[in-house]
């Protein structure tokens, strides 16, 4: 199989080591405590899911990891480096790419320009074109729409573009915020298959998803977030069998 990132060194040597460690993270959002001490860990090569109801703090956790929100207390450590003092625009350079909730593509830029801007830190043509080819191989639909403005794409295609744009940075770790939100069911399957392929190629993934069934199907481990705290954690298969999870998130 063709990997998504032929030039990145294989993670096998360091597989299993924690790549991202979130320790006792607390965050306040306009006076409200959105996170009250969240701890989680993502090891190299894993797909970890974070599930939970609306407002549980999933998006807040991701936004705090990439430094778009200030940390009140606690720690975010990536690859041994404390992120507390790192500004948001330097996060991608460390190897973390976030695919934001609602996709946040640049609607007035063409598909190609959106992808190119994803490679902001790798403006060298050769490397960029190579990554671009990989992304188009992953999402052939994007290849057909290179000259179209991003805003003219369907929701599913925009999600593909948002993921493709994040991959253009050649991340070691991909954070995905609700990739299935508002997308035609037919395309949701495509998108999750693509995510699985990205993971197979060696990218570590932290996936936030309201669709619990999908999240548990595609992940190895999962955290259940409830009102700003980790309520449960474990292997995704085990959680899918868990009575409480089934009742609360899988509709019994």
């Amino acid at each position: 199989m063709k990997t998504a990132h032929p030039t990145r060194k294989a993670p096998t040597a360091e597989a299993g080591k924690p790549l991202l460690v979130v320790e006792n993270l607390a965050v306040s959002y306009g006076g409200i405590k959105a996170l009250k001490g969240v701890s989680l860990e993502v090891r190299r090569g894993e797909i970890v899911a974070m599930i939970g109801a609306n407002g549980a703090g999933k998006t807040t956790t991701l936004k705090t990891i990439v430094r778009l929100l200030p940390i009140a207390t606690g720690k975010v450590v990536y690859d041994g480096k404390d992120l507390a003092a790192v500004p948001a625009e330097e996060i991608v350079g460390l190897g973390i790419s976030l695919v934001p909730e609602g996709r946040a593509i640049f609607a007035n830029l063409t598909v190609r320009e959106n992808l190119e801007i994803g490679a902001w830190n790798h403006k060298n043509r050769g490397a960029m074109d190579e990554t671009l080819e990989d992304v188009v191989r992953l999402f052939p639909r994007l290849g057909e729409r290179m000259k179209q403005e991003g805003g003219t794409l369907s929701g599913g295609e925009q999600q593909m573009l948002a993921i493709g744009r994040a991959l253009m940075a050649r991340p070691s770790m991909l954070l995905l915020d609700e990739p299935s939100l508002g997308i035609a069911p037919r395309l949701v399957a495509d998108i999750f298959e693509a995510i699985a392929r990205v993971a197979q190629a060696g990218t570590t993934i932290l996936l936030v998803e309201q669709n619990t069934r999908l999240a548990l199907k595609y992940s190895m481990r999962a955290y259940v977030l409830r009102t700003g705290e980790i309520a449960m954690t474990g292997d995704s298969k085990a959680l899918a069998e868990n009575e409480e999870v089934r009742a609360a998130y899988l509709g019994g």
Partner: protein, 295 residues
């Protein structure tokens, strides 16, 4: 009569392209920060003064080419610096430290008004309120050609910057979503600085061209042209670069056409009538696109 109309059209285009240069600064800053930079008209005025001093220092009438080109470049350079300083001193702290506290729309707007008053008074303090005559470097017909040609080539260069360079791509990305742009690794404060610099450099060019034609420079001159340029930006669709160019040309032509009639004093009345008419028919301006307000 036909000849008169044609002449007015040519003068109008020259005037309009000059207004467009100033309008671009309003529209570019608005496009990215959703801020109406009222201080922009004072950067224009400062540009006119800088050009005046530069041209005089470089020999004025005795060396029209050196003085003209050199003075203009000096004015553009220092105006760019001034535009960047205004942003760094007045607006940037509101964005970073005021995040989540200050009202994100009104506070910068009032600050911009304050900067405008400050710069205008600073100019009176430094240069006194007296009107100064700009040196006549070229015959008036040639001046208009120079205005038209330089304004247009600069606008073409700007289109290239915005559509073909990485910086332009970053500017357009920022105008859609600053947070997403930061996630891509774009140093947004740098892009914002460059946007202010670009707008101010264009305004200074517009200012020197304006003065070469209208020949006077004084501390409150920014008010008249600033207002017309702002109206041009709104008519064209604020935030839209070709829109600002189109709006500028329209206003220039309307202005010159009015002068052909017995009501030349009504120039600004007509300009604002045109503004109201356009906004009634197309609230986003001629080339503006309706944008979805983010929640």
């Amino acid at each position: 009569m036909a000849m008169k109309i044609l002449n007015a059209l040519i003068t109008g285009l020259a005037q309009g392209s000059m207004i467009a240069l100033v309008a671009l600064g309003y529209t570019m800053v608005y496009g990215i920060l959703k801020l109406i930079n009222f201080a922009h008209s004072e950067v224009f005025m400062m540009g006119a003064f800088l050009g005046f001093f530069g041209i005089t220092a470089l020999g004025g009438k005795d060396a029209p080419l050196v003085a003209g080109v050199g003075g203009t470049l000096l004015a553009m350079f220092f105006a760019g610096l001034l535009g960047m300083l205004v942003e760094r001193i007045a607006y940037a702290p509101l964005r970073t430290r005021g995040k989540g506290k200050a009202n994100t729309r009104i506070t910068p707007l009032v600050t911009a008004l304050g900067m405008s008053v400050l710069l205008q008074n600073l100019a009176q303090l430094l240069f006194t309120a007296q009107y100064r005559g700009y040196p006549q470097l070229l015959p008036i017909e040639d001046t208009r050609k120079v205005i038209f040609i330089s304004a247009f080539s600069v606008m073409i260069a700007l289109q290239f910057l915005v559509h073909k360079t990485w910086m332009g791509k970053a500017m357009r990305a920022l105008s859609v979503n600053i947070e997403a742009a930061r996630l891509m690794g774009i140093r947004t404060s740098r892009v914002i600085s460059i946007t202010f610099i670009t707008g101010s450099v264009l305004a200074a060019l517009g200012a020197v061209l304006y003065c070469l034609d209208q020949s006077q420079v004084y501390p409150t001159m920014g008010v008249v042209i600033g207002t017309r340029a702002f109206v041009a930006a709104v008519i064209g669709g604020i935030g839209n670069i070709p829109g600002a160019m189109l709006g500028g040309l329209l206003i220039g032509i309307i202005g010159e056409m009015t002068k052909l009639t017995a009501y030349s004093g009504l120039q600004d009345v007509l300009v604002f009538t045109a503004l109201i008419a356009v906004l009634l028919v197309k609230p986003t301006g001629l080339l503006g696109k309706a944008s979805i307000e983010k929640v």
